[in-house]
């Protein structure tokens, strides 16, 4: 995509992240998702005559923590401004946002696509209030409906520089951004419920040209999959237009999931003139030195920290690292399990990325709600490492634990009868019997087809009912056959 029919794409992203506060940004209404429509509303968030906003401290803290996490300059004096426009979901006829002087500026995020780390500039992060929700599927086809529960939920708007050059980079950027917000416990990152939303500015230009092409704005993309698809389609569309000698029109387009294409917004497109001005109802937001210093000191673990540890310190394979970093709960689970079984991070990672992940994939709460306690998994892996159970047996134990039929892996292993036999005489006898009864395979092995050993190991295991360490069987077989 970086060089596509002689064009390259230039992408900038605007992310709106709902901040995880209990109450709204300017009033005490709850922020919880999924309530009865228009039950979480009051005179302030409905913009009643005479109602006034008072800023929620927690929203500021979330935004500052995020700004610090991406290396922003924190403007210790920032200003709330009114963005004026009319829309049914916008109660006051203006949105309280930040304009001239946002809370955070000049940050950076490194994205890694195919092992090539690239710094992506973040122009600004500012606080604003969310709008309500317009609904168009109701009882009366001549009407639209509005639910104001979301109006006033705090948002951080995160604006990237036009530094992204491909849909893949855009997705990598979004994944990293989302991970940071989740690590900070500032946003739940739920794209379906709209708590992490993305608009994209896209343009294309001939490779080598430094001036930017005319951009379009894509709205309504609510999954990573759609981000990639929408961007790919829009880039193709723009290249088609230019290749045909046409001109890209500056406009807002929506991603149409069903038609699988972007289309211009149907609503009447008017020239936007938001008439921003400082909100006279709110004084400047001041983050004093003490407050800022405390937030700096409280810097929590970030995805980059975990990545450095898993990759650099523990030497885990890249796909495992990616998964354990992006899914914070899974990464936390890994660390907890590892603390019980510190000697074998690869094995722990392997279990967590495969078995634990499969178990909790669709569960609410993710790995944090896994029925197998990380401590138990760590203990189980310890049993494997100590040669007490084989991996096949360990898997059986894991399912016992997962089903809630046991909590102590050692006890479960005994109950299931999967503890390995520690009887070298029985093993030697079984090996001898298998060699004696598998003439053809033995010949093949000795003729150089060494992979046939797998079959022989299996035969021994079968005779011993699996209660023996396959590695040990393998070793013994080789010793006999190679002798």
């Amino acid at each position: 995509m970086n060089d596509h029919r002689g064009f390259e794409s230039v992408i900038g992203l605007e992310v709106h992240a709902q901040l995880l506060t209990r109450s709204k940004i300017f009033c005490g209404c709850p922020t919880a998702f999924g309530a009865t429509p228009n039950s979480h509303v009051c005179p302030v968030c409905l913009g009643h005559p005479g109602a006034l906003p008072v800023l929620n401290r927690a929203a500021v803290e979330h935004a500052v923590r995020f700004g610090l996490a991406i290396g922003c300059r924190i403007n210790q004096r920032s200003v709330f401004a009114r963005k004026n426009y009319f829309y049914p979901d916008l109660p006051k006829g203006y949105q309280i946002s930040q304009f001239d002087r946002p809370l955070c500026e000049h940050g950076q995020l490194v994205v890694d696509v195919d092992g090539q780390p690239r710094p992506i500039g973040i122009i600004r992060v500012h606080l604003e209030e969310d709008a309500g929700k317009n609904l168009h599927q109701g009882s009366d086809p001549s009407r639209s409906y509005v639910d104001y529960n979301r109006a006033g939920v705090p948002l951080a708007e995160i604006v990237s520089a036009p530094d992204l050059r491909s849909p893949a980079e855009a997705v990598a950027y979004l994944r990293e951004l989302r991970a940071i917000l989740i690590y900070l416990e500032s946003c739940d990152g739920n794209m379906q419920e709209g708590s992490f939303r993305c608009d994209a500015n896209v343009s294309v230009r001939p490779v080598g040209q430094s001036a930017l092409g005319t951009r379009t704005e894509l709205k309504n993309i609510n999954s990573f999959k759609f981000v990639a698809q929408a961007l790919e389609h829009e880039i193709e569309r723009q290249i088609d237009v230019l290749a045909d000698g046409g001109q890209v029109e500056q406009e807002t387009r929506l991603w149409d999931e069903e038609a699988h294409r972007t289309r211009p917004m149907r609503g009447k497109e008017e020239s936007h003139d938001y008439r921003y001005f400082p909100d006279p109802d709110l004084l400047p937001l001041v983050v004093d030195d003490g407050w800022l210093e405390r937030l700096r000191r409280e810097r929590p673990l970030l995805p980059a920290d975990r990545r450095a540890r898993l990759q650099g310190e523990l030497g885990l394979p890249a796909p495992d690292v990616a998964m354990l970093v992006e899914d914070k709960a899974l990464g936390d689970y890994f660390e907890a399990a590892l603390s019980r079984c510190p000697g074998n991070p690869r094995a722990v990672a392997n279990w967590v990325v495969n078995d634990v992940q499969a178990l909790v994939k669709n569960a609410v709460g993710g790995a944090a709600a896994c029925p197998v306690a990380p401590d138990a998994l760590g203990a189980l892996i310890g049993l494997v490492d100590a040669g007490v159970v084989a991996s096949a047996g360990a898997r059986q134990v894991f399912f016992e634990l997962a089903a809630g039929r046991a909590s102590d892996p050692a006890v479960a292993a005994r109950a299931l009868g999967v503890e390995l036999v520690d009887d070298s005489a029985a093993l030697a006898a079984a090996v001898d019997q298998v060699i004696a009864s598998s003439g053809a395979e033995v010949d093949k092995y000795r003729a150089g087809k060494k992979q046939v050993i797998g079959y022989l190991v299996g035969q021994v295991l079968r005779r011993l009912g699996g209660k023996v360490d396959p590695k040990q069987v393998n070793e013994l077989l080789r010793r006999r056959l190679d002798a």
Binding site: H48, P49, K92, G93, D273, R275, P280
Partner: protein, 495 residues
């Protein structure tokens, strides 16, 4: 005993305290008065039934020895841009004609806590936009001194109601003079407190950085008692000042010995005051001087830019503040049945009056792309200069004395043809709002002629120094009786 209609709040409070009067009697008298003076059109909603219940409650409290202070049982009015839960709050606009307030304004809540009886919602210029009360969707209010004249605006209904004895005090709002100018035109006392002194929560906004709630009463003492109830920090208003509240009533008798009073040269040069106004203001200053004040001339050099500055800032803020009236969540909706865009246009086009539309258009224009810096930002810079003028002046004096308006109440219809002429009449009051200082109007004379009209003296104080202003007002009212003059019955007789 003087007629109930002539009592000041302070006097009524004393009678209630002595049990020489009940709140029920007083409230009934005010309600009767309201009926009698309907021609003034000062009332948008008379809350007769509620008021009588509140009066009875007050009498019961008093009988039980649990009276809440000087305002307990006192019938008061509230300008109809201030919210009372469960009562319509129209802001004088058709667009809110049927809007029932969901909550009490903080100032109202505090009056209730003080035991006051809330008797009427009072007429005003639509959304507080006007200087004559002629921009009300409920028709103009009339001046009790001469019903062919304006009571001033925008708190015209409040000033007229206090002057005519419909209630013993009122809450008004003052964005560019809307308490002080009608107080002067109707011969009552009115204070615009320092910005941030009284909560704006529950006050229908006109221009948020200029609006302030304040009391109107029959004397400086009445105003001080009302201030004691309504002033103070409110966590629901982010611009409310977290400052201790003094006992304003104690300032009334403090006297002016040694008080430094400044006369702004520009106010006397620029305004084109009538001879009556100039003489009355000079006489009042002489009274203060005789009482021990030290009078000197000062300069407020940017005064002449105040009106231009004000109309840019106030309309810009208003254009945004009034965007919420879209006929979706509340207010009257006009739906021509041709879709959402038309609903907005018709609702707002038909719901707002001409002056409101004019100001929304001006404000929209000055904030719009390409004009912001030249108009809005520049106006805010000039506002800084005006504010500095006050800072410098208040380094040398404690209170500034000036006229309120160049003329006494003008005739209804006199200035409606040309909005700019109407704006220019606010020359003396507007700087106070821009500068974030406090200002008061006290009666200081009557014009000559067959139908004398009240003249007001303006007293301006440092931010949060309402006490010095009240002290000067108190001294003036100690030495003169202009504040005791009542309008003639029917608005045609002699005072």
């Amino acid at each position: 005993m003087t007629s109930l209609d002539d009592l000041s709040l302070t006097e009524a409070a004393a009678l209630l305290e002595r049990r020489a009067l009940t709140s029920r009697e007083l409230t009934a008298a005010c309600l009767a008065r309201a009926e009698q003076r309907r021609s003034l059109n000062s009332v948008i909603a008379l809350l007769a039934d509620r008021a009588m219940v509140e009066a009875e409650d007050s009498d019961r409290r008093r009988a039980a020895g649990a009276a809440r202070g000087p305002l307990d049982g006192i019938p008061l009015g509230v300008k109809d841009n201030i919210l009372l839960a469960g009562v319509p709050a129209t802001a004088g606009s058709n667009i809110l004609r049927r809007h029932v307030a969901a909550y009490d304004a903080t100032a109202v809540e505090r009056l209730r806590r003080a035991g006051a009886v809330l008797l009427a919602k009072l007429n005003l210029d639509e959304f507080g936009m006007g200087s004559s009360n002629e921009n009300s969707a409920f028709g103009p209010c009339r001046n009790p001194w001469d019903e062919s004249r304006t009571p001033g605006g925008s708190s015209g209904g409040a000033a007229a109601a206090v002057a005519a004895g419909l209630c013993l005090g009122c809450l008004g709002t003052d964005t560019g003079g809307s308490i002080r100018q009608p107080a002067a035109f109707c011969g009552v006392s009115g204070l615009r407190p320092t910005y941030g002194r009284v909560s704006r929560y529950g006050v229908i906004a006109f221009a948020s950085s200029l609006d302030q709630v304040g009391p109107l009463g029959r004397s400086a003492g009445d105003v001080a008692l009302l201030m004691n109830a309504i002033a103070g920090h409110d966590p629901r208003d982010s611009t409310s000042a977290p400052r201790p509240v003094p006992d304003f009533a104690a300032a009334i008798g403090r006297g002016v010995r040694g008080l430094r009073v400044g006369l702004p040269r520009e106010y006397f040069e620029l305004g084109g005051c009538t001879a009556d106004v100039a003489a009355a203001v000079r006489d009042a200053i002489a009274v203060l001087e005789a009482a021990g004040a030290r009078v000197s001339e000062i300069a407020l050099p940017h005064t002449r830019y105040a009106i231009a500055c004000y109309y840019l800032i106030a309309t810009a803020e208003a254009s945004s503040n009034l965007a919420r009236y879209d006929g979706v969540r509340y207010g009257d909706r006009v739906d021509p049945g041709r879709g959402l865009a038309e609903l907005y246009l018709a609702t707002r086009g038909q719901g707002f009056g001409a002056e409101v539309k004019r100001r929304i258009l001006l404000g929209t224009f000055v904030l719009s792309a390409g004009y912001y810096d030249a108009y809005y930002r520049r106006a805010q810079q000039v506002r800084t200069l005006i504010s500095r003028d006050f800072e410098q002046a208040f380094a040398a004096v404690d209170v500034i004395a000036a006229p309120i308006a160049p003329t006494p109440a003008f005739a209804l219809g006199e200035k409606t043809a040309d909005p700019l002429t109407m704006y220019l009449s606010d020359i003396f009051t507007i700087s106070v709002n821009l500068g974030g200082v406090c200002g008061m109007s006290v009666p200081c004379g009557l014009s000559a002629g067959p139908r004398p009209l009240p003249i007001g003296l303006q007293l301006i104080g440092r931010p949060f120094d309402e006490e010095s202003v009240l002290a000067a007002a108190g001294a003036l009212q100690e030495a003169t009786d202009w504040h005791r003059r009542r309008p003639p019955e029917g608005g045609s007789g002699r005072p």
